[in-house]
């Protein structure tokens, strides 16, 4: 007797930018695939909870210490999150980032590490699809329904509870080593996802988002505003293995992530060695087992046009690589 198993569940994965942007992904054993960094258009099933963690571990490219006595060494951006499917078309999330940022100081002879919980954020995701017209995600979809174009609009705001006034190595003003921004940040985004009908192993994802920062006056009296960020991501996810009997699935994925960073502003003046444009490539995979999803990949800067390229050690685009690991559980 042939036994047929299927898991129509969704798992979600989230993307974390350097400042802590969350986004969505989802998959079932036979549903659309989910990328690592881009946001897919899946929402959580109504009434479901999601536990989520992600590590974005960055190794910064280092240069001559005679030219740069102080250099960023590594950063580990952790993200802890919990999500809830309030409706099949509306998911809510709370994220708590925890950051570890290590600098090498004084020509590499000393080091300084800043660590702590950064600003938590709340996010909402509104899901809709095209099925003879635009409509909200229904409570139940078949595998065939999942192959329709799906979209989301998402938005969120962070709560400035992190320590924005944390000082640098010698007590200097160092907003990039702080664990908070001092002001709420606002995120807005759009995603589109399509699982191919004629090749259901393949899923295409597009994601665009904007992250808005506001100026904060620090205890030192300085005013600083991080540059706004715009992202446009695409991803291809290919299911290479699936065992319904073992509730196991493996996807391979690749992504192109475009990032535009505006210049930071310090005391109303643009910081010249900040901002620019970067295109990243992501190569990785995602393993699903029952209710859990484990994703891993490496993110590499493929192209960059930084505003002061020679001066922006430790900025986006100047990574050796980023190692990305995610783990999520739905229940």
């Amino acid at each position: 007797m042939k036994r047929v198993f299927i898991a129509l569940l969704s798992f979600a994965g989230f993307s974390l930018a350097h400042h802590g942007v969350a986004s969505l992904g989802a998959v079932g054993l036979e549903g659309p695939g989910a990328p690592l960094e881009s946001s897919s258009s899946a929402t959580l099933p109504e009434g479901s909870w999601l536990l989520y963690t992600k590590l974005d571990s960055v190794r910064w490219r280092k240069y001559s210490f005679s030219d740069f006595p102080d250099q960023k060494d590594r950063s580990d951006f952790w993200m802890l999150g919990i999500g809830y499917g309030l409706r099949s078309w509306l998911s809510l999330y709370v994220f708590a980032p925890y950051n570890v940022k290590k600098e090498l100081r004084d020509g590499g002879e000393r080091s300084f590490t800043s660590r702590g919980f950064a600003d938590p954020s709340i996010m909402a995701v509104l899901g809709f699809k095209y099925d003879g017209g635009l409509r909200l995600i229904p409570r139940r979809e078949s595998l065939e329904d999942m192959m329709d174009w799906h979209f989301t609009l998402y938005g969120g705001v962070s709560l400035p509870t992190g320590d924005a006034n944390r000082k640098g190595y010698m007590g200097e003003f160092a907003p990039d080593m702080a664990s908070g921004f001092g002001k709420p940040t606002i995120t807005a985004g759009f995603t589109a996802t399509k699982q191919m009908v004629n090749l259901p192993e393949l899923t295409f994802v597009f994601d665009a988002s904007y992250l808005k920062f506001f100026e904060h006056r620090y205890n030192t009296g300085d005013r600083y505003r991080f540059g706004d960020e715009f992202r446009a991501n695409t991803a291809l996810v290919y299911r290479v293995f699936r065992s319904q009997e073992k509730s196991l699935r493996l996807d391979l994925l690749t992504e192109l992530n475009y990032l535009h960073l505006q210049k930071d502003r310090e005391n109303g003046i643009s910081v010249e060695d900040s901002g620019g444009d970067v295109v990243y490539g992501v190569f990785g995979g995602r393993l699903y087992y029952r209710r859990a999803s484990l994703g891993a990949g490496v993110k590499l800067p493929l192209w960059k046009d930084l505003n002061q390229q020679s001066q922006q050690q430790g900025a986006e685009g100047k990574e050796k690589y980023r190692l990305i690991i995610t783990l999520s559980l739905i229940f």
Binding site: K2, V4, I6, L8, P45, E46, R140, D145, I330, F331
Partner: protein, 225 residues
């Protein structure tokens, strides 16, 4: 609050039941419509297991027909819809394998059921969009002649005349989801040819010779393009 969001749907789809049209006859077959590796295409059944084989018009009215009660059982008639009912009897799962016997006739029974299967083949447009019987039933909400490869279509599942929700639906060899509150689910024509859609429900076995009665209904139609 719904805590169970992970749906691990375990279904026992044994062999499939379908009807082929050969000339002026409808032939009732059992086995695997699209056999996989190691699977038999057709499994011989006892013609006496066929409890009914009937011919209907597009509104579900019975039409005169002639049954040939030898293997494979055939029906002759001009039908818009044909429907057959077959029971393969009692099945019991044991450590040694599956036996076509009731629970009390095997050693170390693990799980047992009485199997009742119905297949309905529709030839043209069926006018009724509501269930034609009080039994387990799948209703096609589209005109099958309008369907083409790649197109989605909707079916509704009823039992006792009421929409049946949360029931897994099988389509051409795989489960594609469960029905919604209105008993409906969207499917897609993956390839032209026969579209075999199935649902199963379990209920108490009235004779008490098995753990449950497994009722299965198959809806069958062909897509030519």
């Amino acid at each position: 609050m719904l805590w169970i969001l992970f749906l691990l749907l375990s279904l026992c789809w044994s062999h499939e039941l379908w009807i082929e049209k050969r000339g002026g006859e409808y032939v009732l077959l059992y086995g695997h419509l699209r056999p996989g590796s190691g699977e038999e295409a057709q499994v011989r059944y006892d013609p006496s297991r066929v409890h009914s084989f009937e011919c209907f018009d597009s509104e579900g009215r019975r039409l005169p027909s002639q049954i040939v009660s030898e293997y494979p059982v055939r029906l002759r008639g001009k039908c818009q819809m044909v429907q057959a009912n077959l029971s393969s009897g009692y099945w019991t799962k044991t450590p040694e394998g599956l036996k076509n016997l009731p629970r009390e006739e095997v050693k170390n029974p693990i799980e047992s059921w009485y199997s009742v299967e119905t297949v309905r083949r529709i030839e043209g447009r069926i006018l009724a969009k509501t269930p034609l019987t009080d039994g387990l039933e799948i209703t096609l909400l589209e005109d099958p002649s309008s369907l083409r490869t790649g197109q989605k279509f909707t079916v509704a599942v009823y039992y006792g005349g009421k929409a049946l929700r949360d029931v897994p639906v099988y389509h051409n060899g795989r489960v594609v989801g469960t029905t919604g509150d209105d008993g409906r689910i969207n499917l897609r024509v993956r390839e032209k040819g026969m579209q075999l859609i199935g649902v199963s429900v379990r209920e108490k076995d009235q004779k008490g010779r098995a753990d449950y009665t497994l009722r299965t209904f198959y809806l069958l139609f062909e897509v030519g393009r």
